[in-house]
Symmetry: C2
Subunit: 212 residues, 2 copies
């Protein structure tokens, strides 16, 4: 029995690091895919380029992802989940209430849409407009992320969406944040953006209070 237990234990300890390694490889490929997308766009982000960047073999990548489309959709989904976690963590440090909180929430959301993850997502988003193979995955992911971002914004702002105009005001704020992300793609738009975030926060805060 001792020998059998020993064998089982060995088997478990052998398998665990193997799973860890496989998982680590997968994460490394996904991170490299997002970085490639942000830097080189869809057309420059081949599986070969990602493998080189991640330091893994083509075979290892194919073990995890059957197609280039699957790899990139998974990469953005992975980063999007990480993003949601990060946003939740950062939200804990925001002012508790009042106009300062509204400003801080808008500023945080806008900073997310002007960062490297949205830049990578934007490349995939636009590529999906004309790449059939990419479209279903990216469309579903975009809808999911849109809903999640909206849900978090409502939660962080303490917005009561049963009151008229509140839901549309929050949605418009997220669309504005995406537009600001676009405006930041080719040039540093931070000075102009700061003024817009301040003014937009005041308008949003007015709607939240008026309704409350």
């Amino acid at each position: 029995m001792g020998a059998v237990t020993g064998h089982v234990t060995d088997h478990v300890t052998e398998r665990a690091p193997k799973q860890d390694r496989s998982r680590a490889t997968r994460q490394r490929i996904l991170a490299a895919a997002v970085a490639c997308l942000a830097e080189h766009g869809w057309s420059g982000s081949t599986v070969a380029v990602v493998c080189t960047r991640a330091g893994v073999s083509r075979g290892a990548a194919q073990h995890h992802f059957r197609t280039r489309e699957e790899l990139f959709t998974a990469a953005i989904a992975h980063m999007a989940e990480q993003w949601l976690t990060t946003v939740r963590e950062r939200a804990r440090a925001l002012p508790r209430e009042g106009p300062d909180r509204t400003y801080a929430v808008v500023d945080m959301l806008v900073s997310v849409y002007t960062g490297p993850l949205f830049r990578a997502a934007l490349h995939l988003w636009v590529a999906a407009g004309e790449q059939e193979a990419l479209r279903p995955g990216v469309t579903a992911l975009e809808a999911h992320m849109g809903r999640e971002a909206h849900r978090l914004a409502v939660e962080f702002l303490g917005a009561d969406e049963s009151r008229p105009g509140v839901r549309e005001t929050v949605q418009g704020t997220l669309d504005m944040a995406r537009g600001l992300g676009l405006a930041n793609l080719l040039s540093d738009d931070s000075a102009r953006r700061a003024g817009i975030v301040g003014q937009w926060s005041r308008l949003l805060d007015g709607v939240l209070r008026e309704a409350g």
Copy 2:
């Protein structure tokens, strides 16, 4: 003298149709380039694809545009100018004043950013993020179009930008319109968009009146 005059006249009439033909060819190439970009994105929009669509030879295209980048930057610039003309014409039919005018102006601007020209521009914009050869032309064009759209919005809204918050509210509205264009890329977002346009028009109108 009669003969000389006749010769000059002939020369002018001969040259005029030739210039017209050249101009017509140029316009046809530019229109085909924009349509290709909207449908196939940057990577699918080669000079060869555009020539086939426009029904012109490769040589004819090269006579007008030295590089692929020059062709596409010119195509969007050309359509952008047409867009500004169209917007000016449509603005004449809008309600003269009040909240109805504010709504109509926002609705018109948003409709422009959710249409095929912005879709084509979006592909070029995102491609310029990673294509060095494309970047200077597109960056300059984006800055120019941003300024022109802002100037028209201020004019149509009768906005007094010397008053606090007005300029930033108008800018934010245009960024929101661009974000709505992005949201319309992969799926029909018109139902959601209608509610947002209505609500943000009310907020914008409030800022314009409060300031006035």
